[in-house]
Symmetry: C2
Subunit: 166 residues, 2 copies
DNA sequence: ATGCAATAGTAACAATGATTACTATATCTG
DNA sequence: CAGATATAGTAATCATTGTTACTATTGCAT
């Protein structure tokens, strides 16, 4: 376990990195806390969405979880095998399958929800209400900007790299 | 593309989620911008670390990138195959291999660095210097708390879930 | 009605990363 | 020095995800 110091970064880059690190730490802590229960963060998020939106379709769930339809389908396979969720046909459209939490799924949801709540409360415990609002405001600002950037299509061209060796 | 509204969350949870979303958006935007160059974010981060810390060992690099040693090894395999990095034996310890960027690797690094800088600058363009400092302060606070939490070992016990069906 | 484009879900495959087990080397202990 | 222990890196395996191609169904345009 050698101790390595990352090199200094620009002010902006270090902020961007801090966001990445905070997000990763959140995932790490949550994973540690629910690991013994034997499921993953993704599975938990799927369960949460389905409990909160009973009858959501698979495509809608994929959109909410921001994964591909195929990934969502496989995730639902597994959660259905666990007995936490079930697929039911839609009355009107025979293509769609609607997802519902089972009793067991709802029970697990009720059990984990306070854990998630406690975790975020603990994580934010050093911040005043005022500071939380400030943080939310700043993050919303960044998120909006990033969303615009994600839609723009200014990509780097490979040819530029090949040519000049500045 | 059905429009789905996620259900409301507690104030804390929505903040935690915002951090996740900002982090994911950063990754998405960066991926889009470098995708045409044909490499991944992970590869870029590895290149960056190696350029900034020439002669870093594989284990150290794994630690910096926060991936497992085996994953780092395969990543280095690929980057070496690309001709961006090279392994060299350590003078004193025949177990360790030290990683250096090749000329090509350094050239690519010089090309991509401004892209990364421009991206974070653009992403933060809506924030004043004052606000950036505030954001950094708040994130450092959260990160410290999360780091403490990551070390604590208060995990949920599976047996608890099985027993009561409240 | 008919035919065509769009959509919901699935299957097969490739890429990525973690985990475990292994080899080689180094270091510590007596 | 001898032997135990730890560390650096690799190989094999497994799980997860994205991508592409496919089927079934729907709904729109003529």
């Amino acid at each position: 376990m050698t101790k390595i110091c990352p090199p200094p970064l620009s002010e902006g880059r270090s902020l961007a990195l801090m966001i990445q690190e905070a997000a990763r730490l959140q995932r790490t802590v949550f994973d540690r806390r629910v690991h013994k229960i034997g499921f993953t963060r993704t599975q938990w998020q799927a369960l949460r969405q389905v409990v909160d939106l009973p009858g959501v379709s698979q495509s809608e769930l994929a959109e909410l979880l921001e994964v591909e339809k195929a990934s969502a389908g496989r995730l639902i396979d597994k959660l259905e095998a666990f007995g936490w969720l079930e697929r039911r046909p839609d009355d009107a459209d025979r293509r769609v399958k609607r997802i519902y939490a089972t009793d067991l799924g709802r029970r697990i949801h009720r059990k984990i929800t306070p854990v998630a709540e406690a975790m975020v409360e603990e994580e934010l415990s050093g911040l005043s209400q005022r500071e939380r609002e400030m943080l939310a405001k700043l993050l919303v600002n960044i998120k909006h900007r990033l969303q615009e950037m994600a839609l723009a299509n200014d990509v780097i061209d490979l040819k530029e790299l090949k040519k000049d060796n500045a």
